[in-house]
Symmetry: C2
Subunit: 462 residues, 2 copies
């Protein structure tokens, strides 16, 4: 079945079933989330209340006047089939079932019942047994974990689908605190009638999604997944973590989500064929995704490294080469412009070492020259904030140069809280910022290599 998932992410009206006045209840937290920032209509549903949070509360979904786009269900599993029947009656357009207690604890019967009702009525379900959805565009937010424990990321181009709720929430929180920009987070749990293939197809068309991240443990539709992934990869990059690589991990997968992890060699080959970039960890995945989401595509593999710390320049060159980038040969025009503006003791090679007393002026001249240099495809900018001469202004400079989106730029800064503050500011301005040299090189290389896939015959034949 080909679902229309738009009403789930862009609803005009939402009903929360299991809404409650009890602060520890999931239904309460979710209702509050919607009241906080969602623009559409919100209807609490609970037969035990006439009113909740100042809103009229309805006994059933079908009692709500007007159409309902999205129903969020957070009542015990045994009640879910009845609620689903009522959603069918009301012709709700999409449902998120947070509730667990189905197939994952042996109640396949109950999940089958829910699926049958939904399929017959043509209602897509996110879940069951999931965290649901967080969308920075519409503020659809069904995350019921304590807000002080789970930071929400800013709006951006990365969408992330996760079979595991725990992985999803930890990553979302982590991304939020680092200033990474996210479009949609989707925890789809048991994939009762909407699975990773459906979600990929939805994100393929979703305009706010520039890059897709995915955490899988397995799939029931391997062939379709790879076919769809290949098609999507030619339009938007996909970066995936496939857990259960090792025998021990595969065993753990079957205890965790009951999926078959499948042969890792087969997964690896399939991902390659489909142009899906495989990440090992969530950090890798987001590192690559951030460069895709915020920066233009590089035209080639020639990188220029600049630094105010010589040792970091050396290590950056090592890391870039290791990941398959080439060190650019700077043009004569760049070199002569630098010779005019930076002191003699700076090293005008690649890496360009602006040395320890570099100030924002030296960065300015250098970044602008590199942006114009036809021999340079991407810029790897190291800014160490420990020195007395490099002040906070460099954040604005790098952000302004980056905003022109002429060539991809990534920055690396390593340090404590002072440094981290500046990193977050740059990140929020759309400059992918890294605290290790290796991770920046890996991400820049992945983005560079993806361009080769996109211009390959695989994509041209589509």
């Amino acid at each position: 079945m080909k679902w229309n998932l738009k009403p789930i992410f862009y609803p005009k009206s939402v009903a929360v079933v299991g809404a409650s006045e009890e602060p520890t209840k999931i239904g309460h937290v979710i209702l509050r989330n919607f009241l906080k920032s969602f623009d559409g209509k919100v209807h609490p549903v609970n037969p035990g209340h006439k009113e909740l949070e100042g809103l009229k509360c309805y006994p059933k979904v079908s009692d709500v006047p007007g159409g309902i786009d999205l129903v969020v269900i957070a009542v015990p599993a045994r009640f879910v089939p009845d609620v689903m029947r009522d959603c069918a009656k009301k012709k709700a357009k999409g449902v998120i079932v947070i509730t667990g207690g189905f197939q994952e604890i042996g109640r396949k019967d109950l999940e089958d019942e829910v699926r049958n009702i939904a399929n017959k009525a043509g209602i897509p379900i996110i879940g069951v047994n999931c965290l649901g959805v967080f969308d920075t565009n519409t503020q659809v937010d069904t995350l019921f974990l304590p807000r002080f424990k789970l930071e929400r990321p800013r709006r951006g181009g990365i969408s992330f689908i996760s079979q595991s709720g725990a992985v999803g929430s930890a990553v979302l929180d982590w991304a939020g605190a680092r200033g990474f920009g996210v479009s949609k987070f989707i925890s789809y749990g048991n994939a009762t009638n909407v699975d990773e293939v459906d979600l990929l197809e939805f994100l393929e068309k979703d305009e706010s999604t520039k890059v897709i991240c995915a955490y899988f443990e397995g799939t029931k539709r391997g062939k379709e997944l790879i076919n769809v992934a290949r098609r999507v990869s030619c339009i938007k990059p996909i970066i995936a973590i496939k857990a259960g690589r090792s025998a021990a991990g595969a065993k753990a997968v079957s205890s965790h989500t009951g999926s078959l992890a499948g042969s890792d060699i087969v997964w690896d080959a399939a991902f390659k064929q489909a142009g899906v970039m495989r990440a090992e960890g969530v950090d890798d995945m987001f590192d690559i995704a951030r460069v895709f989401a915020e920066q233009p595509a590089p035209r080639g593999d020639r990188v220029a490294v600049l630094t105010n710390g010589g040792g970091f320049g050396v290590l950056a060159a090592d890391a870039c080469v290791k990941h398959g980038l080439r060190m650019a040969e700077l043009s004569e025009k760049t070199l002569s412009s630098l010779r005019q503006h930076v002191p003699e003791y700076a090293v005008l090679k690649n890496p360009i070492d602006l040395v320890g007393d570099a100030d924002v002026g030296r960065y300015d001249v250098t970044l602008n020259a590199l942006m114009k240099d036809p021999n340079v495809d991407s810029i790897y900018c190291i800014a160490l904030f420990q020195t007395a001469s490099l002040d906070s202004e460099v954040v604005d400079l790098i952000s302004e140069v980056g905003e022109r989106k002429e060539k991809p730029i990534v920055t690396v800064s390593t340090g404590g809280d002072f440094t981290k503050l500046h990193m977050r500011l740059m990140e929020e301005n759309g400059i992918p910022t890294f605290d290790t040299l290796e991770s920046a090189a890996k991400a820049l290389a992945a983005v560079t290599h993806y361009q080769a896939f996109r211009s390959s015959t695989v994509c041209k034949s589509l």
Copy 2:
């Protein structure tokens, strides 16, 4: 020459040459550093002042009454030979020369002069052209970078020598903010008469140093370095970054410190032979070092993973196996103790999935059982703080269990500011804490594999 470097790190009296009242001067910052926390006598030296910061100021080192252990020199390069002659006259026991402007800018003559005077007088020099020393034990602190930009780490067992000042200061700042424990940081610049070999020999005997980290770009004494490293490695672990792996990096090395990077294959083989663990980046290096510094040695390679997020358990198992650890088979005693105390829906395999509603009680039972389990050599503990049930108490629990030092334990938490606060608390309590699954597995594996080197014939024959 075999130096006695103890007076540099454990001085009773210090003279600061170039001390100044001007806040932006290096000599001012260093004098203030000593006045802030150093316990011994501090003497400013500057012919232009009678008094500085309330202390009598002397025209020359030789004018200071009593013996001088350490002289810190921060005057322009052309004055350094005369100051050094005066140090010789005063029979100072060690010198740190912060000043640059010697061999690195073509003034080999000036550096040779300084070296000749020092060698004749038997005075070891840290530098020239360096950041000098930061010692958490004695508070010898010659770091002249702005304090708000460069956090100082807490006291601990990691000593770090760095040919590059920028690498050193960025890493120190980074380590400080994360709660890592450091003993000594040594930036040795041009290695005028004290080089990496001398420093290794000093740290070999230094009781406060449990593990040695090193950043090299090259060495003039390759054979001695490897011989000493092999001897030291059998006593204390050494983790090294050797920059200039790639051709591009090697070229950058020669522009940076004028060292010959040398063949990377030769370096790699030499490190292996000497039991030196090679890290690619400063994060890797400190990740491994923290486990050595804070945790006991594992007796074998069998790791137990516990988690409150299933997906993280799967990925952890994958990462542990990838790095050569074995998943432990939990003993029947452990399993039956867990069966009694954790709910039926928890997964009592390895990884142990305590599931999303795990509280500190479940962690308590599990960690204690694993500490006693003879089939388990090390513990890999994942604690995701996003869930409502896991509260801050788990920090105390993990810290208490870790403090017993029965088996190595590492923890992984991924998240935003709430999580990071808890991570730092654990780190400061001596629990190596990681935000990625991969880095924890890599570090635990490195520590495990080092035990094999230590019990190898290489060490037994010494």
